[in-house]
């Protein structure tokens, strides 16, 4: 399997065009702004609780800084991740380069995995840069490492799922905007689908709640590592990648 050359090629395209730079920069600016607000609020609350010990009982870094930070970051990801994956197949199709790529001695699966890994690498770089925020927190207060780790693992898994959905959408069209809007729409619906679980109730309610991207992430942010949630993200990722492979195949037959 010649996956590595594909990964390298995609990474080169990400970073010679401004796409990756812009996405990473915007992500860090927005995430930094949220972090600043959350941390400033926490500082204020700490100062107030110094005068009022009753209040200080409920104050801890995990719940007041990390958890809101993670949930804010996950919303930013919802908006930005479709932009990472939108060009992967759509642009190759539009410019016709797919015709060359798919006649090189590489299997469709290797092309797909290579592209997916490249997108994942961009995401990991993006995520790794946000480690600065916990580092700043750590400079001032003692951190709980467990929730920090599970939180990042949750972000990683959720992001991986977003990317898989995005790459599938990108394989369906030759228009990058269509690909990104479709991805965003699908992700948003999966995000909020749990909201209706309460009214539906019963078995269907549980099904809807299980489908929700958000509900599964919340446990990670709280510091809970539940196999159910890990399996959910891995499942969705695999299904999306499998569908992408089929869509590539179908396109070949259609010509």
């Amino acid at each position: 399997m010649r996956i590595w050359p594909i990964v390298k090629k995609e990474m080169r395209i990400y970073f010679t065009s401004p796409v990756a730079w812009v996405i990473i920069t915007m992500f860090l600016v927005i995430a930094g702004y949220f972090f600043y607000n959350i941390f400033a609020f926490y500082t204020l609350a700490s100062m107030q609780s110094a005068m009022n010990p009753q209040m200080g009982r409920d104050l801890n870094v995990t719940d007041s800084v990390l958890r809101p930070l993670f949930s804010n970051v996950s919303v930013i990801l919802l908006l930005l991740m479709p932009l990472i994956t939108m060009r992967l197949f759509a642009e190759e199709r539009r410019s016709g380069t797919i015709e060359l790529l798919l006649t090189y001695p590489v299997r469709d699966g290797a092309v797909l995995v290579g592209k997916y890994l490249a997108a994942l690498a961009v995401y990991v770089i993006m995520l790794a840069l946000t480690l600065l925020y916990p580092a700043i927190v750590f400079y001032f207060v003692r951190l709980e490492w467990g929730p920090l780790l599970t939180g990042y693992l949750g972000l990683l898994l959720m992001g991986a799922t977003f990317l898989a959905v995005g790459i599938f959408a990108s394989s369906l069209t030759e228009n990058q905007i269509v690909a990104s809007i479709t991805t965003f729409g699908v992700l948003l619906i999966l995000w909020v689908i749990g909201w209706s679980a309460e009214y539906v109730g019963g078995t269907w309610g549980r099904v809807l709640s299980h489908l929700s991207l958000l509900d599964h992430f919340d446990t990670f942010a709280r510091g809970v590592l539940d196999t159910k949630d890990v399996i959910y993200y891995v499942d969705v990722t695999i299904v999306a990648l499998f569908l992408t492979l089929r869509s590539l195949e179908a396109r070949r037959w259609k010509g």
């Binding site: 080169r12 410019s95 380069t97 015709e99 060359l100 001695p105 010509g255």
Partner: protein, 327 residues
């Protein structure tokens, strides 16, 4: 090297190619000729393993394009129509990627890429981003990516389209230089190009092959006789009679010309030039000789007659000697 049998491809209700069969010998350059939409690109896409045929069989270097697709892809270099390239990548990086993906070993890669760029005359732009290159350079980069792994078979879909005359000559020279160690199949609708570059030709129209074989053979079969165009201002019946009486003349047709003067096409066996005699005849009879020229017996004429005139093989054509002319 390339063997195609009864290939058929449907796009939904549209049949792009029907029952296409041909074969190409190793080291040969074959021109794939046809008007736009005749099925040239479809055939090439099937040969390059980009898409499967609806039915029929195609093998490249002995491997089936559908069942042993990886083995075929390893042995071909393909340049699609319009040469799609990654506009964000740099020339040298791009060629390195192609070489790597086609399995050129890490240690030979640098040398191979450099050599290929040298050969395709693109060394001077190797650090430029492909998107900023001119059409001529892009075309050469396209050719470079096809030959970088030194494949046995090259499939070139309209390699000179959109180039200026100087660039066309350069690309043609490059393709000719590739012959010998590579088997080349190139499609085009520029006819002189085929005569200049190719050994033999396959003419395809509306999805079917209408003629194939070495170029001289094809021309000979279509024009078994030499033709001379004459315009003589004289009484038509006696002019025709006079022309027909010239020794060696096989047939005389009338051919009205634009200025209303009677023109004639005189056919004689190949190798027999009757122009001198026609002049003598006109001089003798004191007819005014307005025009006297050999009618083209080029591939172009063959192509136009087949494709535009929907004509198939003339009855006189011998059906042997490696030249098939199909209905």
């Amino acid at each position: 090297m390339i063997d195609v049998q009864n290939l058929i491809k449907h796009y939904g209700p549209v049949t792009a190619i029907r029952d296409v069969s041909f074969s190409v010998a190793p080291g040969e350059i074959v021109g794939f000729l046809g008007p736009n939409g005749a099925g040239k690109s479809t055939t090439m896409r099937i040969l390059s393993c980009f898409m499967p045929a609806s039915s029929g069989r195609a093998t490249v270097a002995g491997f089936d394009v559908f069942r042993e697709s990886m083995a075929v892809r390893q042995r071909i270099g393909y340049v699609p129509e319009n040469v799609p390239l990654y506009s964000e990548m740099r020339v040298a990086t791009y060629l390195d990627f192609v070489a790597e993906v086609k399995g050129v070993g890490r240690w030979q890669r640098k040398a191979r890429v450099a050599e290929t760029m040298e050969r395709c005359l693109i060394s001077d732009v190797q650090h430029r981003v492909i998107g900023t290159l001119s059409k001529g350079y892009r075309q050469r980069v396209g050719l470079a990516q096809a030959i970088v792994s030194d494949p046995a078979v090259l499939i070139l879909d309209e390699p000179t389209i959109g180039l200026d005359p100087k660039q066309i000559i350069e690309i043609r020279a490059l393709i000719k230089a590739l012959a010998g160690d590579h088997t080349v199949i190139l499609s085009t609708h520029i006819l002189p190009e085929v005569s200049m570059v190719c050994d033999s030709v396959i003419i395809i129209n509306r999805g079917s092959i209408v003629a194939q074989g070495p170029i001289d053979r094809l021309v000979e079969d279509f024009f078994p006789t030499a033709r001379v165009h004459v315009q003589i201002a004289g009484p038509p019946p006696s002019v025709r009679d006079g022309l027909a009486r010239i020794p060696g003349v096989v047939a005389v047709h009338e051919d009205a010309s634009a200025d209303g003067l009677a023109g004639y096409v005189v056919e004689s066996p190949r190798g027999r030039d009757v122009r001198g005699e026609i002049f003598q005849l006109a001089a003798q009879q004191r007819w005014e000789l307005r025009e006297l020229r050999r009618a083209g017996m080029t591939l172009e004429e063959v192509f136009i007659r087949i494709v535009a005139g929907e004509e198939t093989a003339p009855e006189t054509a011998p059906a042997d000697a490696g030249v098939e002319v199909q209905a």
